[in-house]
């Protein structure tokens, strides 16, 4: 069967571009020949539109519709009238209108939510669906509530025109990050300033890294903002890292012992001589502890709190047993006299005002007079608080008695009123000292004596800015093993730090931890847990018997660059025995972090967090 005729006189002309078609088709009936017009009005109520020929009308019905009829109405209307239909829209119309509807819906959706957010809910997360590309990480979501988007996107609070125009300006998000985050250096500079040898980026790129390049926000509450992988590091480093054992460069020379110890402690001497040889294990020594310490590192090192450093235990736990008597034995002498001539010690002369010490003979007299009156302030160019610290517990009345006694050429023998004074082992003393000289001296009560420490610190502060024979002699005396409190015996290196960093001087009395400013992220704890606290240390830490550590300390640590650590450098092979692809994770971030120590500016300013990448 032939479905349709295509000849012009046998079929009607289809107009698929018109948006209406005959309503009869809707009910699967035969459509009228004329079909609806472009306005959707039915054209099928008549079969043709008669035309006027001369004085009468003729039918125009085509052949394929039955041919012309005989009688159009006299008024020119078609005589074959039918009831009209309700034309219906075609598919093309609906497709176009659904498209328009979707476009309008999207525009309304975008603008209604955006307008609502900007106009009514600016500082909230309400209705931000069309502006917010995703929820913030848990860390940031907790404190952005009040200011919402404008915490980081400052242009969010602008009026509409400024807001729109900011699309054509640079958005400095790093500045927003550094509003809260505090780094050791410029946050934009890679590793906050450290230039790597295998860097493949230009200096301009190195100095202009945006935070958002590595930390992608709006990835949901569970997103790890600090997550990075080997590829991230390879972006800038030439050594494309895939395997620690084969791809990681060898560790640097002297790693990790480049930093000298603030406290002179000769591991080898202690372990191989002091702790075991009988000549050292005298009555003044803690024999039991020495025995333990010779066997185990954990006797002295606090492995329970091991992190990057395994800090030694406190002085009282590990040093006091053997060394406390040495501290108490060595006094700080301020003045000596043979009852004819009084002489101020170099440390006293160093701290006293230069106008007084120009004539040293006269200076002793002035000194005695002043301390007898309790007017120490006239002697020193120091603040009242500093003078109070220096002379804490000093008795000027007794000083008067001393001065009188010496002036009359007699030794001073203090009257002992009670038992307490006779048993006095530390504090200010007048009279005969341990060398048999008449003197004013101070005996420290033990380790970290506050008065002795004040005298030493003041001396060292002065020695940084001034230099004369008194100061040099005083410092020399201080650093001697038998110097005041024997401080110099162990602390000489730490207290001679002036060559290390002139701008930020600090007294290194205590144990100096490894600097946390670097990119190395290492913790002893898991390694100790894995390898054991007793024998585990030897796996990495081996003595270097060739190292001349003693010379550095004998030279009182004056030149830090002479320092040779008694331990051998740790080599990469020590780590790669376990850190291989098949065993323990060995990604860049296992041992390195991008940022140095970082902290926060807002609210929680004081606490640095160590885990930053």
């Amino acid at each position: 069967m032939k479905y349709q005729n295509h000849n012009f006189d046998q079929s009607s002309y289809e107009r698929p571009h018109c948006q209406y078609h005959c309503g009869r088709q809707r009910f699967w009936k035969k459509s009228c020949r004329q079909g609806p017009d472009h306005k959707g009005r039915c054209g099928g109520h008549s079969e043709c539109n008669p035309i006027k020929v001369g004085d009468h009308y003729e039918c125009t019905r085509p052949e394929h519709a039955g041919g012309p009829c005989q009688s159009p109405n006299p008024d020119g209307s078609c005589s074959q009238q039918h009831s009209p239909c309700q034309p219906v829209r075609n598919l093309k119309f609906w497709r176009r209108h659904i498209s328009y509807l979707v476009v309008v819906a999207v525009i309304v959706l975008i603008f209604s939510f955006s307008f609502a957010q900007i106009a009514f809910f600016k500082n909230t997360g309400i209705a931000d669906i069309m502006l917010n590309p995703g929820p913030l990480s848990a860390q940031h979501a907790t404190f952005t509530g009040q200011q919402s988007c404008q915490n980081c996107h400052t242009n969010h609070k602008d009026n509409f025109s400024d807001w729109f125009m900011s699309a054509f300006q640079h958005n400095d998000l790093t500045a927003a990050c550094t509003e809260c985050h505090l780094f050791a250096g410029d946050a934009r500079v890679a590793h906050q300033g450290k230039l790597s040898n295998d860097r493949k980026t230009s200096l301009a790129e190195h100095n202009n890294i945006e935070c958002v390049r590595c930390h992608t926000e709006h990835q949901g509450k569970t997103a790890e903002l600090t997550h990075s992988n080997n590829q991230t590091c390879s972006n800038c480093h030439q050594n494309s890292f895939s395997d620690f054992a084969t791809k990681h460069p060898p560790f640097a020379k002297h790693y990790p012992y480049r930093q000298r110890q603030a406290i002179y402690f000769d591991h080898l001497k202690h372990l191989e001589e002091y702790f075991i040889e009988e000549q050292y294990l005298t009555i003044k020594r803690d024999v039991e502890f020495a025995k333990q310490a010779s066997q185990s590192c954990s006797s002295c090192h606090n492995i329970k709190n091991a992190q990057r450093a395994v800090k030694p235990k406190s002085y009282t736990q590990i040093c006091q047993g053997c060394h406390d008597y040495q501290i108490k034995e060595n006094q700080l002498t301020l003045l000596t006299t043979d009852l004819e001539l009084a002489e101020l010690s170099p440390i006293t002369l160093s701290l006293m005002d230069e106008s007084i010490t120009e004539d040293p003979d006269q200076a002793a007299t002035i000194f005695l007079e002043a301390i007898a009156k309790g007017e120490m302030k006239s002697l020193f160019n120091l603040s009242e608080q500093q003078i109070q610290q220096l002379w804490l517990g000093f008795n000027p009345i007794e000083a008067q008695l001393v001065a009188k006694s010496w002036a009359s050429g007699e030794s001073y023998a203090p009257e002992i009123d009670d038992k307490e004074d006779s048993n006095k082992l530390s504090g200010w003393f007048f009279g005969e000292d341990s060398n048999g000289d008449e003197a004013i001296f101070y005996k420290p009560k033990g380790h970290a004596d506050i008065i002795l420490r004040s005298w030493i610190e003041q001396l060292l502060l002065i020695s940084r800015n001034k230099s004369n024979e008194h100061i040099e002699a005083a410092v020399e005396q201080l650093m001697e093993q038998k110097g005041p409190g024997s401080c110099g015996k162990c602390h000489a290196a730490g207290l001679n730090d002036k060559q290390l960093n002139q701008s930020s001087f600090q007294f290194s009395w205590g144990y100096a931890s490894k600097s946390e400013t670097g990119t190395i992220l290492y913790s002893h704890k898991p390694h100790i847990n894995l390898m054991g606290s007793e024998e585990g240390c030897d796996n990495c830490h081996q003595f270097n018997r060739k190292a001349d550590t003693v010379s550095y300390y004998k030279n009182r640590g004056k030149n830090p660059y002479e320092y040779q650590n008694p331990f051998s450098d740790i080599r990469k092979e020590s780590c790669s025995e376990c850190h291989t692809q098949d065993q323990i994770v060995s990604d860049c971030t296992t041992c390195h972090r991008y940022h140095g120590p970082s902290s926060y500016k807002i609210g929680f300013i004081s606490k640095p967090h160590i885990g930053g990448n």
């Binding site: 069967m1 032939k2 479905y3 349709q4 079929s11 289809e14 698929p16 078609h21 009869r24 088709q25 699967w28 009936k29 035969k30 459509s31 075609n90 598919l91 609906w94 497709r95 659904i98 498209s99 509807l101 979707v102 476009v103 819906a105 999207v106 525009i107 959706l109 975008i110 931000d128 669906i129 069309m130 502006l131 917010n132 590309p133 995703g134 929820p135 988007c149 996107h153 242009n155 807001w163 729109f164 900011s166 699309a167 054509f168 640079h170 958005n171 998000l173 980026t201 890294i209 958002v212 390049r213 590595c214 709006h218 990835q219 949901g220 997103a223 590829q231 390879s234 972006n235 800038c236």
Partner: protein, 277 residues
């Protein structure tokens, strides 16, 4: 002549594919390069994707401006639309790096993109498969004329039944028509079966016409044969209707989803420039 056309089309396909792959390679390398230098890797893939989306949208405009010969042939544009679409999928994943964004308006973009892609691929399959099926039917018919043709077949069938009943005075054929065929002839049937190339309609015709033969006299049998021919004709019309309808319907999803996608993409572009760049 056909051989020349085939060669021309092959050349067009190779040229467009080569250009497309070159663009994809360039964007891929640029993105990796940006990533390797901690640059904004999304810049190249983002703007590349935008240009591709606009190019894809231009296809619709070109179809309306077929009078302009300088813009290339319709076939070339169609092939470019297909290849650009494929490349856009690759660049989209290069840009987004995830199957589904965590939330926010980017999910709307993703939803529109997936809808456009799925409808586009479906459309490609439809436009490739069903025209071939159409040519397998003995005669083609314009979609808009199918209702008329169905009505004509129905009228013929009814006329056949009426004339036979008038001659034979038997109700067998009349009852058969009213109880079994009337519904079938009333409108297109078995549309889904036709789309999946099932033979359900043929089977239905055989199943209904076979048993009734035993109850027909000679005149009725003749009429029954004519009715069966008309039923098969109607079946062909149904096939035509099903194929042509599906070839039009996929655009009901593709075009609106693409328009929505473009709007969301422009919004995304604006927001990214305001808040991130």
């Amino acid at each position: 002549m056909q051989e020349i056309t085939r060669l021309k089309r092959l050349r067009t396909n190779i040229l467009i594919s080569a250009c497309g792959l070159l663009i994809l390679f360039f964007i891929f390398i640029s993105t990796i390069e940006q990533k390797n230098s901690l640059g904004i890797a999304e810049i190249w893939s983002g703007y590349g994707l935008l240009v591709l989306l606009l190019l894809l949208a231009l296809f619709n405009i070109k179809k309306r401006l077929s009078i302009l010969p300088l813009l290339g042939t319709g076939y070339g544009w169609h092939q470019m639309h297909i290849i650009s679409g494929m490349i856009a999928i690759a660049i989209y994943f290069l840009h987004v790096e995830s199957w589904w964004p965590p939330s926010g308006y980017e999910r709307w973009i993703a939803a529109c993109f997936y809808l456009a892609v799925i409808s586009g691929i479906s459309g490609l399959i439809i436009q490739t498969y069903y025209p071939k099926r159409l040519t397998e039917i003995e005669e083609e018919i314009i979609f808009e004329r199918i209702p008329d043709a169905v009505a004509e077949v129905r009228e013929k069938a009814m006329h056949e039944v009426e004339s036979t009943v008038a001659i034979t005075r038997s109700e067998t054929l009349l009852r058969f028509y009213t109880e079994s065929l009337d519904h079938y002839f009333r409108r297109p049937q078995f549309l889904f079966s036709h789309l999946i190339a099932s033979q359900s309609a043929d089977f239905w015709i055989k199943k209904h016409f076979q048993p009734i033969r035993h109850f027909c006299n000679k005149d009725e049998l003749e009429s029954l044969q004519k009715l069966e021919v008309l039923a098969k004709t109607k079946n062909y019309l149904d096939q035509q209707y099903a194929y042509q309808l599906i070839m039009k319907l996929w655009l009901f999803i593709h075009v609106p989803s693409v328009l929505a996608l473009l709007l969301f993409v422009f919004w995304h572009l604006l927001l990214v420039n305001i808040y991130a760049l």
